[in-house]
């Protein structure tokens, strides 16, 4: 029974969504939007599981004393600070005791991590007391400081200057640089892999070389290279894409149908 209900749900809702596509009526549209909301809300609730997993794995690293375990503190303090910033904002001009509160929160997270990571009862008690003390301190500051407040229902936290700075000067540069590493990886991948080992590899290599030379003015017949690369992009590349798109489309429909009909159950561990 426990095993069957999920597959029944997949079947019912899968079929409903297929038929919904062909029914433009408002009622069908209402259910469509309603079900999409379900997916979004379920996904957000599941995020708590994700954060818990992140916390647990980080603490586990400290517990096992793995190499580089100290970086786990960076991760978790960063995580909770960002969340704290995102839900708070100053009420007036000054920040009051906000930064004390931030420090207390950060310290509390570290104490909690130590608490979970410690093996002996003695150190458990010590870290437990410390975490509790810091928590009480943080709560007291939060209650008695009027210079700032929590905003859960409205979006004031998003304009918190700390939230913005963390986003602009920590997240964005790192993410953009990570992305920019591709400039180098694409070069080393090309160097390493573009060898004319056989006919197929040579075709790949030649097409890539030709397109990469499309604006190289030093080549003889440069104008034709530019034209030929344009042709490669718009004729063979287009043909390849079209074929793959159609194949993928059928593959998706086939897999989705198998899932709905319960032929394929591997996604629930039963295959």
């Amino acid at each position: 029974m426990r095993r069957q209900i999920p597959f029944a749900l997949v079947f019912i809702f899968g079929f409903f969504m297929i038929f919904q596509f062909f029914v433009p009526h408002e009622t069908s549209e209402f259910f469509y939007e309603f079900l999409l909301d379900w997916i979004i809300v379920i996904g957000i609730f599941a995020l708590a599981l994700g954060i818990w997993s992140l916390f647990k794995v980080s603490v586990e690293k400290i517990k096992l004393g793995k190499e580089g375990a100290q970086y786990s503190y960076v991760t978790l303090v960063g995580l909770f600070l960002m969340m704290a910033f995102g839900f708070t904002q100053k009420t007036g001009e000054g920040w009051g005791l906000y930064f004390l509160w931030i420090v207390l929160c950060g310290a509390c997270i570290v104490a909690l991590m130590r608490l979970r990571a410690s093996a002996s009862a003695g150190s458990k008690r010590m870290w437990g007391m410390m975490a509790l003390g810091l928590l009480i301190g943080a709560v007291l500051v939060a209650i008695f400081d009027d210079a700032w407040a929590f905003y859960f229902y409205t979006q004031e936290g998003l304009s918190n200057s700390m939230f913005r700075d963390f986003f602009d000067y920590i997240m964005m540069p790192i993410l953009a640089t990570m992305f920019a590493l591709l400039a180098f990886y694409i070069a080393s991948a090309a160097y390493r892999a573009f060898r004319a080992r056989n006919l197929l590899a040579s075709l790949l290599l030649l097409a890539a070389l030709l397109v990469m030379s499309r604006f190289n003015p030093f080549l003889p017949g440069a104008e034709y290279v530019a034209k030929a690369s344009n042709w490669l992009m718009n004729v063979p590349n287009m043909a390849a894409q079209r074929a793959i798109v159609i194949g993928i489309g059928l593959g998706i429909v086939g897999t989705a149908l198998k899932v709905i009909l319960g032929i394929e159950r591997g996604y629930m561990g039963k295959g």
């Binding site: 180098f184 070069a187 080393s188 390493r192 573009f194 990469m212 190289n216």
Partner: protein
């Protein structure tokens, strides 16, 4: 292991080091690289070059800040070219977030025109560009298809006043310009589907010569219009912009970018070639050893 085979097994960190060095050096250094010019871009340049002093070019700046990086260099190069040749320009900006950006660009180019410059061996004296005499910026109006059609009747119908609020009737330059009949070329620089309206409602209905400046990804789908003669030329992406800068002998942001691009591409091609030379060299040796 001879030198060729070393080529093949180079640590990839040498690739990274060389690439970083080349990128940073070419970014900092200010030298000129030749840009290969394609026919589609040269047509546009030649058309503007052949216009006489006092001719009118309409430049439709139909993109928003999202595609600024690719399209702004085109605007800068073309407008500067027109103004140096004392060609009068009309600007429109039919993309909602465009006008502010467009205004900024006009002011930048105005500043640049106040200096003496030499392009393609011809020295142009710096001059003051006067709003209303050398150019007229019409601004934004919604429903671009209708605006484009309306301008075919008269510019003052969709735009009774220009972007700065001056009535069109009192703008000196617009006294003898009524509609597209007085315009010698329309250049649409666009990052979206406004281009389609310029082709079908504008060029299709009124038959003016139309040139396009497009983002890189859009370019291929407009080639058919080049074939059918509805469009005289196309500039595609940063590459197209750099080509125009090359033709106009006015190196700007596009050529700066292309300088780094060209150097980086050459480095990558060099490594690929090296790898293959090494590969064939080692295969040859293995064969020889096999025989011996």
């Amino acid at each position: 292991m001879n030198i060729f085979e070393k080529f093949m097994k180079l640590d990839r960190r040498w690739v990274y080091l060389l690439l970083i060095t080349v990128c940073v050096l070419t970014y900092v250094a200010d030298f000129d690289v030749p840009i290969l010019v394609e026919k589609e871009v040269k047509v546009i340049y030649d058309r503007i070059e052949s216009l006489e002093e006092g001719s009118v070019v309409l430049i439709a700046i139909d993109y928003d800040p999202n595609s600024l990086a690719e399209l702004h260099p085109m605007t800068y190069a073309i407008v500067e070219h027109c103004w140096r040749k004392k060609i009068r320009t009309i600007f429109t900006s039919l993309s909602q977030n465009g006008p502010g950006m467009c205004d900024q660009a006009i002011r930048d180019i105005t500043d640049s025109l106040s200096l003496d410059r030499e392009y393609n061996g011809v020295t142009y004296k710096g001059r003051e560009i006067v709003n209303g005499v050398d150019y007229c910026f019409l601004g934004f109006k919604p429903y671009y298809a209708i605006v484009i059609l309306g301008m075919g009747q008269a510019f003052k119908l969709p735009f009774p006043a220009d972007y700065y609020g001056t009535p069109l009737d009192s703008i000196p330059m617009m006294q003898d310009i009524i509609n597209y009949d007085q315009v010698d070329l329309v250049v649409d620089i666009s990052g979206g589907n406004i281009t389609d309206a310029w082709i079908s409602y504008g060029q299709g209905r009124f038959g003016f010569p139309l040139a396009l400046g497009l983002t890189g990804v859009m370019t291929a789908q407009y080639y058919p219009f080049l074939g059918s003669g509805q469009v005289i030329g196309i500039m595609g992406g940063l590459l197209g912009a750099a080509q125009y800068e090359q033709l106009a002998d006015n190196p700007g942001r596009a050529k700066d970018g292309m300088r780094v691009q060209l150097a980086a591409h050459l480095v990558i091609i060099l490594f690929i070639v090296m790898g293959n030379v090494g590969y064939f060299a080692s295969r040859k040796r293995l064969k020889k050893e096999g025989r011996a």
